[in-house]
Amino acid sequence: MGGGIIGLLILGGITVGVIAAVRRVMKKDGAESQTGDVIPYLLLALAVGTAAFALAELAEAAFPGDAFIFDTTTQVAASLAALVVAGPIAFVLWKRQSRRRVTNTSAAGWIVYLAAIEAVFMTALAIASFGVLNSLLGDGSSASWANVVVFAGVVVFHEFASRQTPPTGEGSDLHRVLGSAIGLVMTSIGTAGVLYWLLDLLYGSLTPTSSNAEPAIWISFLLVGVPIWGVRWWSSWPSEPDISRKTWLVVASVAGLVTAVGTGTSILIMILLYLFSDTDSAATHFAVLPGIVATASVAALVWAHHKGRLGIERNAPVQIYGYTMAAIGLSAAIGGATGLATLAFAPADFINEPDAFVISVATILVVGLLVWGWFWTRAQAVPRELEAGTIPRRLYLVGFGVITGLVAAGALIGTLVVLFQMLIGGEPSDSLVPQASLFIFSGLATWHLLRNNAIDSALVESPDVVTPFDVTLICSHPGTIATAFPKEARLKVIYRADTEGVVTEGMEAAIVEEVGNTSSLVWVEGSGYRIARARG
């Protein structure tokens, strides 16, 4: 008993000491931060993270679930040590930042802090909740609900704080976007799993094969993911999409479409393999179909939902989406073409099961070309002068061109190594054909990308810079020729005494063109004009 009281006194003393020290330091830093309070908020995130996980550890030690052996002394000691240090720091920093937030809601630190808390604690809450649900519904190993309570408390506390003083400015949607991503991933896994379970039941009723899939784990994913996604994504947004929401729309659209097209391609390959190569019975061959169809369906839904919100107006996010898909399609086409060339020119025994290989790589080549062609054609449909100077297009043409160029260079080095080995008497290597093929196809892609970039550059380049030049015009009357010269021209008119040398309207354009922005002497007379280049 006496030891317990001494322990409490020590804990209390350390807590009060830490609070006093932190306050003393913070009082010296009273001026308004010029960096959006990022550093205090990062320190706060660290302190809150340490304290919250220590509290979760302590709660788990107090309520260890189904554990039948446990030693709580280490857990309790570690948790108390972390709480005594991190708790007071979190308390003092939170109070300080709450006061400052009232007058500065657009502080970058508040946005970063909320995003960090969301990423860590929403993920922790999702994992802990999933563990508890899965142990209740299915045969997952038992999990402690104490963590769920602590992590939910942290999330709810910050949700209220963010509603009291909502972050404003660019990036203010970031924490909600991160929560949406966590919710969507879990919802998608759960939906695909439940769909797989249903399709597998159907497949099992039609064929003698079945994987005996269990729905509990997928329902657990759904029960965790749907509320998170619902709260974070479907509740009303306070403003137009900011950069974080636009970025997420692009990421989700690309990920959804790539997964849908990828799984669709694998279904196509599976059907072609069944039709054109020696396979097992149809039931065995297509046994994985329920899983692939479920994944493809959910991916297509994810794509449709996010692409719909991305819109059709060709703004920067839509351009990034389109060029990313074009790059992925072109990469797949390079891989497919390399595979086909390898099959055609490499030694006969280089590839096992050539029938299956040719069907697979040919399908990948066709699908890759279709994807690339679709998105590249849509980019080409826009007037080039409007599209040429945009950053997404530049990144695609130059950035992806550099990547394919590096691949081509690496493949060329590999090819030359093999060739030099053969020249100096070594054994010919089987890798010659794949390396050479990769060099050719990635080289062609590089040429295509950089050539288009060169055309774009010529289109958007600024006109030639004209340096100031002198024009001495000897005439009877200059007319309006002064307005036809560029502003860099310094025009000096010397009048003739007669009326023979008048600059007519038809003469103006010809003289300006012939002068060509260089210092000149122009002599106008009755029969026309003569131009002499000025010296120096």
Binding site: F53, E57, L58, E60, F63, A67, F68, I69, F70
Partner: protein, 154 residues
């Protein structure tokens, strides 16, 4: 003390009280004791003995035929300076292999968890055999020391 100052300290006081309460509960909690005359009770007794560094008691729960040539010192030397652990019985996974043999899976959490902990989890399985009324752990079992001392070798 004003009302504002009073409310300012409510949350720290509540959290502090919760922390102390949790610590007291954790330090006074004992695991439910399973019947030692069952396979899962045998595994619990074995792991509890190792957790208490009572290696003689732990070794007494091992199949003497399988571990012929070994003794408690071999078990102790293989444990070394082990981290404290928590063990959770996987009730769904317990399986009667034969009338005499039962498979008992256990999830073991070593060290402390969380982002600042140094914990890790492993899934261990124990085959428990009925020797005329008393259950003993047969075959190679955590912490896998038989390779070092068994007469039959590993």
């Amino acid at each position: 003390m004003t009302v504002g100052k009073k409310t300012r300290w409510i949350w720290p006081v509540v959290i502090g009280t919760v922390v102390i309460a949790l610590a007291v509960i954790a330090l006074n909690r004992e695991p439910a004791q399973l019947d030692p005359n069952t396979p899962e009770g045998t595994v619990q007794a074995y792991l509890q003995a190792i957790g208490d560094s009572d290696f003689d008691a732990a070794f007494d729960l091992l199949d003497p035929q399988y571990y012929e040539g070994c003794d408690a010192a071999d078990l102790a030397s293989n444990m070394g300076r082990s981290e404290p652990f928590t063990a959770v019985l996987d009730l769904e996974g317990i399986e009667e292999l034969t009338d005499e043999k039962t498979f008992v899976p256990v999830r073991m959490q070593f060290g402390t968890s969380g982002p600042f902990g140094s914990g890790w989890t492993s899934w261990e399985s124990f085959v428990v055999t009925d020797y005329t009324g008393s259950w003993l752990i047969a075959e190679e079992a955590w912490p896998y020391f038989g390779w070092d001392c068994r007469e039959e070798g590993f």
